[in-house]
């Protein structure tokens, strides 16, 4: 099967006055049509920047240095998104129309001075050909009806009234539902959900996740789900990519990642999930050491200063992402000896 999206050796850097930050440093992964891919990692590991790079939305002074982002368009054409002009017509057609984004903060991600309906209708009209049938043009009235239907789909009660509400008149959960409605408004083939449940409370979080799972089953949209919450990954994703300092540490099917993690970083992450059955009044397990400063990256494997299984070779070469176990890939010298070319 041809993947829907294939990221190969993506590198994104930020040229700052203090130096260069390599936010994404040779990341590779695939997304199959209809698959839910979870990307997990600590703050600052480059997961959000990777997603912005896919949509060509990396803010200055950030830039895509090298790498390929091959995307299969609905007409079968394969385009390299990394080569497209960020403001060009093709990129704009893909944004929203073929790849949609569910942002992290639904409150700040809607304009406060336009109604939510207005902002969704605008998106539908921008990609109106995705709704046109028999050559009939989509009018503003049609777009409004579509929006009301979408609101009903994402479980917003009183959709006719809610369309004319401002984002700050809605609750956190409703806001995120409206955001999901906007992302789905142009029938995208790929949905990028950037920590969509981080800014909302746990009960609402569970509802939003259930909604996303239902919608995914209904429309068979592929989803890239970014989070730092392994619990969310276990619920949502079928395939998992673990990132650390802009590099993929390990990737594999969700069961393999949770039951037989190969990389010491994945193991450490799993160990630090608080358990319901753990002893009370005992310090929670943490990953020793601190995240290195972005200007001061360790040589060799980026995780070696904090790794419990560190070896002499780890500070010399950078391990490549190669098969480890039956269907996982890991970049770790515990499993192979191949280093990246210097």
């Amino acid at each position: 099967m041809t993947p829907l999206l294939s990221v190969r050796d993506l590198r994104v850097s930020f040229q700052l006055d203090e130096g260069v930050v390599r936010a994404v440093d040779g990341t590779s992964f695939d997304v199959q049509p209809g698959q839910v891919l979870g990307i997990v990692g600590e703050s600052g590991c480059g997961k959000s920047v990777t997603m912005k790079a896919i949509l060509q939305l990396v803010d200055r002074p950030g830039q895509i240095d090298t790498g390929e982002i091959s995307f299969a368009r609905p007409n079968g054409e394969i385009v390299d998104l990394a080569k497209l002009s960020p403001r060009g017509a093709t990129m704009r057609e893909i944004r929203g129309g073929e790849i949609a984004l569910i942002p992290q903060e639904p409150m700040a991600s809607f304009s406060p001075v336009h109604t939510v309906g207005d902002q969704i209708i605008e998106a539908i009209l921008l990609h109106s050909h995705r709704w046109e049938q028999d050559g009939r043009k989509i009018t503003r009235r049609d777009a409004r009806d579509i929006t009301v239907g979408l609101f009903r789909d994402v479980g917003i009660s009183m959709p006719e009234q809610r369309v004319d509400a401002y984002s700050w008149q809605l609750s956190g959960g409703l806001r995120q539902r409206a955001m999901i409605a906007m992302a789905l408004s142009c029938k995208p083939r790929l949905l990028i959900a950037d920590e969509p449940t981080t800014a909302i409370d746990v009960t609402t979080q569970a509802q939003v996740l259930a909604l996303l799972r239902d919608l995914q089953a209904k429309y068979n949209t592929a989803i890239i789900f970014i989070t730092h919450d392994l619990g969310v990954i276990a619920q949502m994703a079928s395939y998992v990519v673990v990132m650390y300092l802009g590099k993929v540490m390990e990737q594999g099917p969700v069961d393999a990642i949770f039951h037989s993690p190969k990389h010491p970083y994945t193991r450490a992450l799993l160990r630090s999930i608080p358990s319901m059955y753990g002893q009370t009044r005992v310090a929670l397990p943490v990953i020793s050491g601190a995240l290195p400063h972005p200007f001061n990256r360790p040589p060799g494997c980026p995780f070696h200063p904090r790794c419990p299984d560190v070896m002499a070779v780890c500070s010399v070469g950078v391990p490549r992402l190669l098969p480890a176990g039956d269907d996982q890939l890991a970049s770790c010298f515990l499993h192979h000896t191949a280093a990246e070319p210097v």
């Binding site: 949509l55 939305l57 803010d59 403001r87 990129m91 704009r92 057609e93 893909i94 944004r95 929203g96 129309g97 949609a100 984004l101 942002p103 992290q104 903060e105 700040a108 991600s109 809607f110 304009s111 406060p112 001075v113 336009h114 902002q119 605008e122 998106a123 921008l126 990609h127 401002y166 700050w168 008149q169 955001m179 906007m182």
Partner: protein, 328 residues
């Protein structure tokens, strides 16, 4: 919304009464009165006036009455729409102010429109192209614009125009039109002359406004809703105008309130320097000669403009920002 405006309009007369009292206290504050100033003027030109005549005039003008009585007489007349008589010109103040008001308003509005028409696009360009050559150039122009007193700019322009192009740029009309009745030719002459004073009056405001616009927009451009709009596939210039510019605009609208009276009073020095038929020089002269009812009338109009301007910007702000509209 209607209720809110009605409430504000109801407060207006009370505010005006308070202002009128403060104004009266201030114009009465300098030592002496119109007649002492008048005697001094006569003395400096070599003529004199007898003490009896002064006493008679003082009685005639009511200047011998107590402060409170004078204030209430003034207020009584104002309630009947009578601004009183100018002591110096011996003409009704309403006529004197009315003659100047039209051109003052025309000049102020022209300068206001010019300011916004230049400042807003310049601010938007600077914010969307930060640290570009044009942004740096605009920044330098803006700093110079803010730092140069506008009467100084007026003097430089007048001197430059006169010395190098041999044209006289003072006034709002060519000499042949100054006292001519209104005609299309006179309007055309006004439009030809209004540019320079309009620009001089507006330059500092333009510079300040475009800096505020730039700073506001730079803040708004980093907000997540801009990313959302981009991720929808909108054209960059369209999304910038539709979302962040709209939000960056709000703080500017709230400045309209004090901008209106500032245009009238701020034009005093420039109008004197450029010899504009404007209300500013009239006020200055009235204050120097202690022509107190004329000065009081003009200051009352300023106060009225300040209150109305504030109300106007509050209403505008509510109209463009639903967060304010819905809550009030």
């Amino acid at each position: 919304m209607t209720r809110y405006i009605a409430q504000r309009l109801l407060i207006l007369p009370f505010l005006m009464v308070i202002y009128s009292f403060v104004i009266f206290v201030i114009i009465q504050a300098p030592p002496g009165d119109f007649l002492t100033a008048y005697v001094a003027t006569l003395a400096s030109s070599g003529s004199s006036i007898s003490a009896d005549q002064i006493a008679a005039l003082r009685h005639q003008y009511g200047l011998d009455q107590s402060f409170v009585v004078q204030y209430f007489l003034w207020m009584q007349n104002l309630f009947h729409g009578d601004f009183g008589l100018s002591l110096e010109y011996q003409r009704p103040n309403a006529d004197l102010i009315g003659e100047q008001l039209g051109l003052t308003v025309a000049l102020a509005l022209f300068s206001f429109v010019l300011t916004w028409a230049i400042a807003v696009p310049a601010g938007i360009y600077s914010a969307t192209h930060p640290r570009s050559l044009i942004d740096h150039t605009l920044t330098v122009i803006n700093y110079v614009g803010v730092a140069t007193p506008n009467f100084m700019l007026a003097l430089m322009l007048m001197w430059g125009a006169f010395a190098y192009f041999d044209i006289n740029v003072t006034g709002l009309f060519s000499p042949e039109f100054v006292d001519a009745p209104w005609s299309f030719a006179r309007v055309g002459d006004l439009l030809f002359h209004i540019w320079l004073p309009g620009l001089v009056l507006g330059i500092a405001g333009t510079a300040r406004l475009s800096r505020i616009m730039r700073a506001n927009l730079l803040d708004e451009l980093n907000k997540p809703y801009v990313v959302t709009a981009r991720a929808k596939g909108m054209r960059e210039w369209r999304l910038v105008l539709r979302y962040p510019v709209r939000l960056a605009f709000n703080p500017l609208v709230s400045t309209i309130g004090w901008y209106l009276p500032a245009l009238f009073s701020g034009s005093l020095i420039v109008a004197t320097v450029m010899n504009l038929p404007n209300i500013g020089p009239l006020l200055l002269r009235a204050l120097i000669n202690q022509d107190m009812y004329l000065a009081g009338g003009i200051l009352l109009i300023y106060s009225f403009l300040t209150i109305v301007g504030t109300l106007l910007s509050d209403v505008l702000l509510a109209l463009i920002d639903p967060r304010i509209r819905v809550e009030s």
